[in-house]
Amino acid sequence: MNVLIYLVPMALLLGLTGLLGFMWTLRTNQYDDLNGAALRILPDDDIDAE
């Protein structure tokens, strides 16, 4: 059972990283335009520019 000593903190740390990541996306307004983000990947104008 000694393995728990580092497995449990690791699991928690991973979860916490996810939570902080979500908080960051929220703070940088990444959910303001969900439909727009889906469409912005479609145009290929970055390729034309080369």
Binding site: M1, L4, G15, L19, M23, L26, D32, D33, G36
Partner: protein
């Protein structure tokens, strides 16, 4: 003359030299639009940043103040092919956004904690039936406490705050049992952990918060979406006014920035943008949006004029009055206040359930503790059982039961062109048994239509083409009949009388009777033949009278028949003359109609119905309907309604069909039955789970399974509302032969009415 456009009120300046504006953009509906708009504007000199929010159809532009201006940006957009409207961000919208984000943060924290605590709990449940040692169990319990306690303290805030507010005003809402339940469960679990007990309820408490926050967030998201959409619509519809500057120069400004004592000019054919007093000029105004009266009334200087009236003939100079300073508006405000107070007494289904639920839950828990003590159990065991009862009865399912159905119902109504102003509208709509209609602008379309049944087509064509050169609303109605949409050359408009010109070498005139060389007919003559007004046309010595009639909404007869078939009581309450109301009522087969009513009389009629136990849906658009809308159980307005009226209506519908009225009721009834089913499910769940809890047999495993099981069941049931046939009345029956109204056929199909130009497509765009 080119007027300058003044948008300075909409431009924000955060730092010197930099300006920012938010614009609502119309007709953005594909990936190409984003690129076209953003790249197009980037090319302008001085632009710092352009970002189009596709979901909200709003464009944020930032630029160097010296190098370009908001006016130039709008002009550039116009050139690319998009009309943009300045959008004033309101304070309430900012607060709303803040609140949504906060709820989402709480939801994220609760979700994270629930997942991790559950990870530990599952191990505990497995360990309890195998070989877990006391030390490992304690470690897992302490770890759960470490995660759950701070998470609950953070994510529970929306409930704790709301419960505290309720208790301070000596009331009970759903958040009180939630707060008590969660707090007790956590405290008890902490004590159990410290005393090395087998069971702790950290997982139940945090999962409960997670489910409840889901319901809370859905509710908030729905409200935010409709408010955002309404904000865009308001800016699309926003009117501009011609304001005189200090040196007498004219500037075009948005009507929303007008202040009292501003002097404005209203041209013929324009709507009056603000209430005020006429300083100079003489004209006729169409007050149908204000009073429901369809015959234009003559006005002269010194008279008061209301926003929404349409200036028919001569240019008017108006001094803007302070909001609500006119007697009509004061009267309406006073009536509104009274009606709104009366309405706030109706109680929402969820609140009714909460008021009943909270005491029952607390009493059951107390009785359980007392019962076990009397039966000889230890104090500790009695408290543990009572807390288990509190956890099991916590209104998870109930808290989700109603918001999810409202969310699904509102989405469905949205697709049927109906925008709700608040979530509980659905409940009120579902209970309706009497529908009261206003006539002008509600049963009929806001614009008149020429009755051409007895007119020679060639004469009509000439008259209609001549009408293209006029701004008068009656002429505009006639102009829609023109097959060839090219105005004649050299036509002169004489303000206040009509237009004249040369057609095929002969003098032609279109306008009032006097202008065409006839004696002025009395308004009664018009009224007796049912027409709102008559326009005259002379050509080569022949005079033709063309009546302009009110046109019914195309599907009005079908909708009325469908409502009658479902035994709704239909009533028309109109401010218009009885001669104008009677034919409409007859055509629709509505036997109960009242004409010439003042706003106070409309309220009285509705109060009378309500005191007779009726639940009244009021459908109206005029300023004079606003108090009646507020007094009714629930109210609907077409999007063309006066601004004050729109603000009072519980829901708005778009387009020129009346079908949304039927859709609104049908969708709401279905939603209400889903809500009731959901509450039923929640009650059945409680009936099954509470005896187990009272008996003291609820382990954390059972609590978790029962709680999430009931929540998922209720959510799935709510999502059933999305299944099935689209409740789209217009499309289902609009094409049937009975739906046609004789006069409606005269209007060319390809013409879009100016005020109803907000279409289903635009609606779906914003979604």
């Amino acid at each position: 003359m080119i007027e300058a456009l003044d948008l300075s009120n909409f431009v924000e300046r955060s730092e010197p030299g930099r300006a920012h504006i938010t614009l609502a953009v119309e007709a953005v509906n594909c990936a190409g639009c984003i690129r076209k708009i953003e790249n197009g504007l980037q090319k302008l000199p001085g632009i710092i940043d352009v970002r189009l929010n596709f979901t909200q159809r709003r464009l944020a532009v930032e630029w160097h103040d010296r190098e370009t201006s908001a006016e130039r940006i709008i002009a550039a957009l116009k050139q690319i092919g998009y009309s943009a409207h300045p959008f004033a961000p309101e304070r309430i919208a900012a607060e709303d956004k803040h609140e949504t984000k906060w709820l989402l943060r709480c939801l994220a924290v609760a979700g994270f904690a629930a997942m991790n605590v559950m990870l530990l709990s599952v191990s505990l449940w497995a360990g309890n039936v195998s070989d877990m040692t006391q030390e490992t169990r304690d470690l897992f319990h302490w770890l759960s406490a470490l995660i759950a306690l701070p998470a609950a303290a953070y994510a529970g805030q929306p409930f704790f705050k709301s419960a505290w507010r309720a208790i301070r005003t000596r009331q009970l809402n759903m958040d009180v049992p939630i707060t008590v339940g969660v707090t007790l469960a956590l405290a008890l679990s902490l004590y159990e952990t410290a005393t090395h007990a087998i069971h702790a309820y950290f997982d139940s408490a945090i999962m409960l918060l997670f489910f409840l926050l889901c319901g809370r967030y859905l509710d908030q998201a729905m409200r935010q979406r409709t408010r955002r959409f309404a904000g865009n619509l308001a800016s699309f519809k926003a009117e501009f006014a011609h304001r005189f500057g200090p040196r007498g120069e004219l500037t075009r400004v948005p009507a929303s920035v007008l202040q009292s004592n501003d002097i404005i000019l209203v041209q013929p054919g324009e709507a009056v943008p603000a209430d005020g007093m006429i300083m100079s000029g003489r004209s006729e105004v169409d007050q149908s949006l204000v009073t429901g009266e369809t015959i234009p009334q003559p006005v002269v200087s010194g008279m008061t004029i209301y926003a929404g009236a349409i200036n028919c003939s001569g240019a008017l100079t108006i001094k803007v009055a302070a909001a609500g300073s006119s007697t009509l508006l004061q009267e309406i405000e006073r009536l509104l206040l009274r009606a709104t107070e009366a309405k706030s007494r109706t109680v929402r289904l969820a609140d009714r359930a909460a008021r009943l639920y909270a005491p029952v839950v607390h009493l059951t828990a107390a009785a359980t503790a007392l019962g076990w003590l009397l039966a000889g159990a230890s104090f500790h065991d009695a408290v543990v059982t009572a807390v288990a009862v509190l956890i099991i009865t916590c209104p998870c399912a109930i808290a989700l039961a109603i918001p999810t159905v409202q969310m699904v119902g509102a989405g469905r109504l949205f697709r049927a062109s109906i925008i709700l102003n608040s979530g509980d509208v659905i409940e009120r709509l579902a209970s309706v048994d009497t529908v009261v209609f206003d006539k002008t602008g509600t049963l009929t379309l806001p614009e008149g239509v020429a009755d051409v049944s007895s007119i020679d087509p060639d004469v009509l064509e000439r008259a209609a083409r001549l009408a293209l050169s006029s701004h008068h609303p009656l002429a505009t109605a006639l102009a829609r009949c023109a097959r060839e949409r090219i105005p004649y050359a050299g036509v002169v408009e004489e303000s206040g009388s009509g237009v004249h010109g040369n057609i095929e070498g002969q003098e032609a005139r279109l306008g009032s009777a006097l202008f065409c060389g006839l004696a002025e007919p009395s308004p009664q003559a018009n009224a007796t033949n049912g027409a709102a007004s008559t326009i005259f046309f002379t050509h080569a010595g022949h005079v033709t009278a063309i009546p302009i009639r009110q046109r019914l909404r195309p599907d009005a007869p079908t909708v009325v028949r469908a409502l009658m078939a479902r035994s709704f009581d239909l009533i028309i309450l109109s401010g218009d003359r009885s001669k104008a109301v009677e034919p409409v009522a007859k055509q629709l087969g509505i036997t109960q109609w009242h004409a010439g009513l003042s706003p106070a009389e409309k309220i009285a009629a509705i109060e009378n119905l309500k005191s007779g136990g009726r639940r009244v849906l009021m459908v109206g658009d005029g300023l004079n309907d606003a108090p009646a809308l507020a007094a009714a159980t629930v109210s609907l307005s077409p999007i063309t309604a006066a601004q004050l009226t729109q603000a009072r209506a519980d829901a708005l519908f778009l387009g020129e069909h009346l079908g949304p009225v039927w859709d609104a009721i049908a969708v709401s009834r279905r939603a209400r039955s889903l809500m009731q089913q959901n509450l039923g499910l929640a009650i059945v769940y409680n009936a099954l789970a509470v005896p187990i809890a009272v008996a003291g047999m609820v382990t954390p495993l059972i609590a978790a399974a029962a709680m999430s099981g009931s929540s998922i069941l209720v959510t799935l049931n709510a999502l059933r509302g999305r299944l099935g046939r689209r409740p789209d009345f217009v499309h289902a029956t609009g094409s049937s032969p009975q739906a046609k109204v004789p006069i409606a056929e005269d209007v060319p199909k390809d013409l879009v009415l100016k005020d109803v130009a907000v279409t289903r497509d635009q609606l779906e765009c914003v979604q």
